[in-house]
């Protein structure tokens, strides 16, 4: 039986070495810095960051042909056009399906692979890690034709499954390395304690290790989702049917060879950005915890 006390115990802390006090002068100087010295650079940075977003909102919300610098009179015509006429409703559903499936598949497989890398020694482990790292330097475009041929053989061209598999495969190496570092940070003795209490390896992992990996899982999962949400190339190449295409491909079709509907393009851009913004708004706390925890090797 696993008790609550036994599970998430942190490693015994090293004897605390008292940190030398910072020079009083320096701390005081920083504390007493006028507020404007902080807010002015931040304000300038925000202007550079937010003006392009305002510009997109402006084009999306003002009527076609307007040159007004404020979105008034406001119209939702561009949103209606892209959502219904240009099929963004369908593209959105497809992108959600691809994103969520990639998230679960990447997280699941990376968790299993990461556990193996963290907890087991095997002969080619170093070479395998190196191969994982090297795979990050191979651009997706280079593997496009072989992947296309494989999916054609499997009769998976024009199936969302091909995009989900390709996205998962390309995100696995980094996710696996990240999660293996997280798992290494969980003391092995915790798992051993669980075995002593009667758990098998899987249950010990599920009950003791998994809860401690939450920041890492959120970091890996959210990146898998956001990356597949934004990724253009695989969806463009592997999906032919209009009903199966995703948001980035749909956005691309709003620009023709010699004409562009800027209002529709801006509205499409906002529809594409909203889920990513929401995901980051909800998970930013976990994301920062996740990356800082993963950065420290046990």
């Amino acid at each position: 039986m696993i008790t609550k006390e036994a599970a998430p115990a942190a490693p015994a802390p090293a004897p605390a070495v008292p940190e030398p006090p910072r020079p009083a002068k320096r701390r005081r100087a920083w504390d007493e810095a006028p507020r404007w010295q902080i807010y002015l650079p931040l304000g300038i940075y925000l202007v550079f960051t937010l003006v392009p977003f305002y510009w997109i909102l402006l084009f999306a919300l003002r009527p076609a042909g307007s040159t007004s610098l404020v979105p008034w009179p406001m119209t939702t015509a561009h949103f209606e056009k892209v959502w219904t006429d240009r099929g963004f409703g369908t593209f959105f559903q497809n992108s959600v399906l691809v994103g969520v499936a990639t998230l679960f598949m990447t997280t699941l497989v990376a968790l299993a692979g990461g556990y193996a890398l963290a907890r087991f020694d095997f002969r080619i482990k170093r070479g395998f890690m190196l191969a994982l790292l090297c795979s990050q330097f191979v651009p997706g475009a280079l593997l496009l034709v072989p992947l296309f041929e494989i999916f054609a053989e499997l009769r998976m061209i024009n199936s969302l499954g091909s995009v989900i598999i390709a996205e998962t495969v390309f995100q696995l190496p980094l996710s696996m390395i990240l999660l293996s570092n997280f798992i290494k940070n969980v003391p092995y003795s915790l798992e051993e304690a669980a075995w002593v209490d009667g758990c098998n390896r899987f249950r010990a992992f599920r009950v003791v290790v998994l809860p401690l990996l939450r920041p890492g899982l959120i970091a890996v999962g959210s990146f898998a989702f956001v990356h597949s949400w934004n990724h253009f190339l695989f969806a463009l190449m592997f999906l032919n049917n209009q009903e199966k295409q995703t948001i980035p491909v749909g956005l691309n079709t709003l620009m023709s060879a010699d004409s562009v509907d800027l209002g529709a393009l801006a509205a499409g851009g906002i529809i594409a950005a909203v889920p990513v913004v929401i995901v980051f708004a909800f998970i930013q706390k976990w994301l920062i915890t996740g990356f800082s925890a993963g950065a420290v090797k046990g």
């Binding site: 193996a116 009769r155 061209i157 199936s159 091909s162 092995y188 032919n240 079709t253 010699d258 562009v260």
Partner: protein
């Protein structure tokens, strides 16, 4: 503490089987979601003229609605044939088709413009259409110049791989309100063009006479301005081996054109592709813009019909109008199609007078079908009418760009667009730029001649 996998083998066999079962299950589940294209590419059959065909549109998005309308008409007239429409953005079309060719999973029918024709034909992906056209109701009804342009842009075997649908044409758009206010005459000659560009510019008021294309697509526009001013009517000299791009008259013309940058244009024009250029002209105070018929509807939406006009390119000093060719657009039949009979029926329908008229009215381009070119809507779309007149009344000489060269897209884009930016910035002379361009073109032509025997 680390443990060895070899030392802990309990349950390994069972785990292995479970993992294999999970992996197999995942693959089968994902495979089960597959449908549509089989990708086998086993191909080349005439078929029975029924069933499904797949059509890839090379300019999807803006043209999607009109194509869907034409397809609906076709399916009504041919209830045994279903057309699956796939709209692909023009910027990605070439790479998508190239990948499909390599992977052996091509559509039945696809949009094939002159600029892409050489590459696809060289890979043996397209079906020659001469015989089919001869036996068709379209025979003799299509614009001969457009057919010749597509024939010349093909694989060098003098065969037709794409049936023309429309021609685009270079247009000089100008703001009538700004010209009237400044008391300027219509920019019908290059002298008037340069005079107006200067007089309309007031940098203090953020008003400019012209917007130049310095980013993607800059070379074709610069060539148009060069040949238009110099009056040289052929891209190659009499031997056919040396290009005329670095002829002293063209060098002088480019110097004059490039000198407009920053003097009468916004400085941001250095990175102008057509999107930025058109958006800038539609939303700011800029006197003139060179683009093609395709952006006419954007200008109408932004400015209304009363504030601007679109006229053919200016006339040169010797009274001649010389323009470089815009790629003719068309529809091709892929060799791998298993249903060529039905695919050809669709091509015939799409290029018929009624469909061709409908398509070009929506696209604002010059129809390939002679009967469609006589329809009433052309008289109402002024730039299209003027372009159609200019192309057919003998007033314009077209300099045919070498779309047939497999390296043309690389030379005219990736290789030389950055150098053109150097010319605009004054970091490279017009002569050095054109000499470099000429050298590459001459080499490409020599290679082409060698391959063709």
């Amino acid at each position: 503490m680390k443990i060895s996998i070899l030392g802990r083998s309990t349950g390994r066999g069972r785990r292995g089987r479970t993992s294999a079962a999970v992996a197999l299950g995942a693959v089968l589940a994902l495979t089960a979601t597959a449908c549509g294209d089989d990708g086998s590419g086993g191909a080349g059959a005439e078929g029975d003229g029924k069933g499904e065909i797949v059509f890839w549109d090379n300019n999807g998005g803006v043209r999607t609605d009109i194509w869907k309308e034409i397809i609906a008409d076709f399916e009504k007239a041919n209830p045994d044939i279903d057309v699956q429409y796939v709209g692909i953005a023009s910027t990605e079309y070439q790479s998508k088709v190239d990948t499909a060719i390599q992977g052996g999973s091509m559509p039945d029918v696809g949009g094939i413009s002159a600029s892409m024709l050489a590459g696809f034909a060289a890979q043996g992906a397209l079906e020659p259409l001469d015989e089919r056209l001869e036996g068709s109701s379209l025979n003799g009804k299509l614009n001969k110049d457009m057919i010749e342009s597509l024939r010349a842009a093909g694989g060098g075997d003098d065969r037709l791989y794409s049936v023309p649908t429309s021609a685009n044409n270079g247009v000089l758009y100008y703001r009538t309100d700004m010209f009237e206010k400044a008391g300027l005459e219509e920019p019908t000659t290059w002298d008037r063009f340069f005079e107006a560009a200067e007089k309309l510019t007031d940098k203090g008021s953020n008003r400019f006479g012209y917007t130049i294309r310095g980013g993607a697509g800059s070379i074709a526009q610069a060539l148009d301005a060069m040949y238009g001013q110099s009056g040289i009517t052929s891209f190659w000299d009499s031997t056919g081996r040396k290009t005329t791009v670095n002829d002293p008259k063209n060098v002088k013309a480019l110097e004059k054109y490039a000198a407009l940058f920053k003097k009468v244009t916004p400085a941001a024009d250095l990175n102008n592709d057509f999107t930025k250029m058109v958006a800038q002209w539609d939303s700011g105070e800029i006197g003139m813009l060179n683009h093609n018929l395709g952006s006419y509807q954007d200008h109408v939406k932004a400015l209304g019909v009363g504030k601007f006009r679109g006229i053919p390119q200016p006339i040169g000093p010797d009274g001649k109008r010389v323009q470089v060719s815009n790629p003719v657009d068309g529809i091709g039949l892929f060799k791998s199609s298993k249903n060529k009979d039905a695919a050809w029926k669709f091509i015939e329908f799409a290029v018929s007078a009624q469909s061709n008229s409908k398509f070009n009215e929506s696209a604002g381009q010059v129809p390939a079908h002679a009967d469609a070119a006589k329809d009433a809507w052309i008289a109402k779309a002024e730039p299209t009418k003027l372009a159609a007149d200019a192309l057919s009344d003998g007033s314009t000489t077209i300099v045919q760009l070498p779309y047939y060269l497999p390296d043309w897209n690389t030379i005219s884009k990736a290789d030389n667009e950055p150098n053109f930016q150097k010319v605009l910035l004054g970091d490279m002379t017009a002569k050095a730029f054109l000499d470099g361009l000429a050298e590459q073109l001459n080499e490409a032509q020599a290679e082409w001649d060698e391959q063709m025997g």
